[in-house]
Structure formats: structure tokens, C-alpha cells
């Protein structure tokens, strides 16, 4: 219980992170496709397709409105799916975690490395999307470069949540539940494709109180629009605070699952 398991984290977690980085880079041609293709598809279909009907949201063109949401969604998907399905495959099928904990690494090192890697993947994807969005003229430079540093805490948050589900899932199929019941609704209702302000007041409170993606979209939109308000400070603190909380829960749940 000492310091919630934090005292068991060592530099070894970086070796776990590098293992995943090496595996990612081995197939980088495939891995680098989504961040280039996804924003193009979304912008064409939603930004310019649906956008042709909508014209403007709060005085802003629709493609410009959804651009920061696209980055937020990519950040969410990449770390959440990395730390659920991919982590589960490493943990259960490949026995990679078993091999690791037979070395000086602790369970906490392994989990920390996995979460750091999930966040890194989010950050890589956010970074790669920026030039694409810039070429479409839907984000401004250089302020939009701030999307990159914010992808780190946002990625950590979704990675930690993902690991929590991985730690309690009975099997890989059951990971579909959080994917469909948690991630997909969030993808639609977090101020991504329409502003949260059109929701009833209570739902707005709910979104900013409980939905990670709503807080992330809010910050990213402030970055690309260059408009900051006190709400943004709240969103940032929420992402960091809740991320830290889920990190501790992830360590605890994984320790319980992996200790024999």
C-alpha cells in the first residue's frame, strides 16, 4: 500500500516503454497511416459534406469547428485501444508481462511503461495530424502546436482508463463493452461534432464532470481557436487530476490481477 504502489516504479518502466516503441517502429509504415488518412476522411465527409449543410457553428466554419475534435478523438482512440486490446494481447496471449516480471521489473514498472507508451502513441498521432489539418487550412500555426504537449496528459488519461478495463476484463471480447458503451458515446456527445452548449444545462455539467473526451475537446478547441477562458483551466486540471487518479487505480487493479 506504500504510496499507492508508486514506490515500486523504477527506471525499468522506460525499458517497457521502449519495447513497445521498438515494436511500433518495426511496422511504422502501417502505424503512420491512420493519423494521415483519418483526418482527411473525417474532414471530407463531415467537414465539407455535412458542413455544406451547416455552414457555420457559432460563427465558425464547420471544418474549423471539428478540427480540434478530430485530434482529440485520435488521442482518445490511440491510447485507449493501445491499452485495452493491445495490452491485453501482450498480457494474456503473448505472456510478455510474465516475461518482464521475471526480470528485475516490478508489476508497477510494466503497467507504468504501458501507460506511458499509450500516451506516447497519442502524442505521435496528434503530432502527425497537425500538418494535415494545417494543409486543409483548418488550424492556425504556431498556436496549434500546443495540441502536442496537451496530447501527453490527455493520452495518459485514456491510457490509464484503458488499463483499468484491461485489468478487470474476463476476456478480450468483453473489452467491446467499454469500447461501445463508453468510448463510442463519448465520441459523439463530447462537443465533438456539435457544441456542448446546445445540450440542456444538466447534461453540460455531466459532460464536463464525467466525460474525459469533453474536457479534452474543450482544451484542444481553445488551443486551435486561440480563445482561453477559466473553463479551460478547469478542463486542464480535470484531465491531469482524473488521469492521476486512474493511474493509481490502474496500478492497483493490475497488481491484483497479476499477483499470483
Amino acid at each position: 500500500m506504500a504510496y499507492f504502489g508508486l514506490s515500486e516504479i523504477s527506471r525499468g518502466s522506460i525499458a517497457v516503454w521502449r519495447r513497445n516503441m521498438d515494436a511500433f517502429m518495426k511496422t511504422y509504415q502501417v502505424n503512420f497511416i491512420p493519423p494521415f488518412v483519418e483526418p482527411v476522411l473525417y474532414l471530407l465527409a463531415l467537414g465539407y459534406g455535412v458542413g455544406a449543410l451547416i455552414q457555420e457553428v457559432d460563427g465558425i466554419s464547420y471544418p474549423v469547428f471539428i478540427a480540434p475534435a478530430l485530434v482529440s478523438i485520435s488521442v482518445m482512440y490511440s491510447s485507449f485501444f493501445e491499452c485495452t486490446y493491445s495490452s491485453y494481447v501482450r498480457m494474456y496471449y503473448q505472456k510478455t508481462f510474465d516475461a518482464m516480471i521475471a526480470t528485475p521489473l516490478s508489476i508497477e514498472d510494466v503497467i507504468t511503461g504501458e501507460i506511458l507508451w499509450g500516451a506516447t502513441r497519442s502524442t505521435i498521432y496528434a503530432t502527425l495530424m497537425i500538418p494535415v489539418l494545417f494543409l486543409f487550412g483548418v488550424i492556425d500555426m504556431p498556436t496549434s502546436l500546443l495540441l502536442i504537449p496537451f496530447a501527453i496528459p490527455a493520452g495518459l488519461l485514456f491510457a490509464a482508463i484503458g488499463i483499468c478495463f484491461t485489468a478487470i476484463t474476463p476476456g478480450i471480447d468483453a473489452l467491446n463493452y467499454p469500447a461501445f458503451l463508453f468510448i463510442t458515446p463519448m465520441f459523439l456527445f463530447s462537443g465533438t461534432f456539435f457544441p456542448i452548449s446546445i445540450l440542456p444545462q444538466t447534461l453540460q455539467y455531466f459532460a464536463f464532470g464525467f466525460l474525459p473526451l469533453a474536457n479534452v475537446v474543450s482544451v484542444n478547441r481553445a488551443i486551435t481557436f486561440g480563445e482561453f477562458s477559466p473553463l479551460i483551466l478547469y478542463n486542464i486540471l480535470w484531465v491531469i487530476g482524473v488521469g492521476a487518479l486512474f493511474f493509481l487505480i490502474a496500478l492497483k487493479l493490475m497488481k491484483r490481477r497479476l499477483t499470483v
Binding site: 517497457v16 521502449r18 518495426k26 510474465d98 518482464m100 521475471a102 528485475p104 516490478s106
Partner: protein
Amino acid sequence: MDVISATALRKRFGNLVAVDGINFSVYEGEIFGFLGPNGAGKTTVMKMVHCVSRRTSGDLFVFGMDAESHPREIKQRLGVVPQENNHDPDFSAFMNLTVYARYFGIQKRLAEERADELLDFMQLSEKRDVPVETLSGGMKRRLIIARALMNNPELLILDEPTIGLDPQARHLIWEKLRHLRSTGCTLVMTTHYLDEAARLCDRLVIMDQGKILVEGSPKELVREHAGTDIVEANATPDVIACLETAGVVFETFGDIIQVQTGTPQKIVSALMESCRLENVTVRRATLEDVFLKLTGRTLRE
């Protein structure tokens, strides 16, 4: 100082007692074996020794350190060959070794040199850069052994190291394990191949249902529990009746009878004369006889 010392070591999984209060010591520089039927608790003991499984009660010291409180220090100095291969399928053989070395904090240059040495040692150099998934079962096993040696361990734990290997590969591994012993490495292994245990182990224990039944060198154990020779014949009713009248102590195992003896020639001639037996064989007693005698012949679930 003993490399491993366990006192009243116990491990419970829910209601199941997998390891039931065992005592053993492993001395520096020896090969120490754990034998026992499926489910005896061998793997559980190995896992407690390499600190991935926590004991329920008792004491367990490795390198003089408590396994409970010093897992990192202990794991830094030992190598593990798990019962189930768990190489990293995303990498080549070479990368499997170097990535693993990073978990020990070994510098890149050193790790790469060592990886090439060990691939050579395990005769895998030709497979250096191929994806591990394309290796044969025996090659994968050798790679796992090479991986366990990356940190130059003082203690090597091998859980069925030669499982599923062809005779050539097994001989290669035996030779390598003896070589490691000659360099001062201590080895602890489990195996179901009793000839392997007899050849390799300086001392061994036979476990069953979580308990240690006997401990000793393979020779001692055979002498104490199986005598020197075994006379075997088909277990026909005639033979059994004849042996009973002759007053010879024998045991029946399925369709054969066995007589343990120090004077096989006498028994054989007596049997041939008075019972007119035809299919009589005489062989040296082996560890297998000891094993079957102590753990029974019924199959474990």
C-alpha cells in the same frame, strides 16, 4: 551459504494447497532437480523462488535475501526459463535478447555482444535476424535459454528446459548446462525425463501433492528405493502363482511383474527353472523405478 533455502514453504491457491510445507536447500555450483507428477507443485516452487509468486507462509531465502522483501535484487542475479515459452513474437531472435537485456538495465553495446555470443552458444546464429515465430519448437526453447543467460546469472532456474526437444537438442542442452555448472553457475531444474535428471542432477527431490517425498543424489535414491537390479516378466496367472509358491517378493504393474533384487542371476535362474518362464528381462534399476514406486502408477488429473 546456500543459494536457496526454504523452510516450511507453503503456497495455497484458494482451497488448493499447491506446496505443502517443504524444506530444501540448494548449494552453490550444483544442479538441483525437482521431479514429480503433473500438478505436484514444481512450477509453483520455481515461481516462488524467482519472486513472481508470493508464498502463503514459511521462509524462502535466495542469495541470503528474503524473496518477499528483495525481489528486484534477487531477480537481477538469476535467469529464468519458464515452463511455457514466452518469447516476444514482435521481434527477431536477436532483438528478443537485446530487448530483454534492457529490462536488466544492461548497456546496449554489452547487450548486443552478449546476444551474439549466446546465439552462438545455443547454435542459433543462423536464425539471428528471423522473426521468432518462424523458429522451430526446439529453436524457440534454445532461444529462451539464451535469453535467461543474458544477465550472466549466478542462479539459473529451468522449468522443463528440454520439453518437446529432439534427442540432438536435448544432448546439446545437457552439454550447455554442464558447461554452465563448470563456470560456477547454480542450476535448479524440473523435468519429467528421469534419464535427464539422473544424468544431470547432483541432487534432486521427488515431490508429490505439494510435499517432498525424498531427497538425495540420483544414485543414492536408486540404491535406497529400487535396489540395484530389476527382473521383469509377463504377469500371467501362471507366473504369479509360481512366484507366490516360490516365496519371491514381487510387484504387479498392469501386465508385468517386477522383482527388485541385488542378485538378479539367482532370481532369474530360479524363475526359469521352477516356473518355466520365457520372457524374463533383467535391467539396472533406474530413477524411473524410484519415481513410480514413490508416486504410484495412477495418472494425475
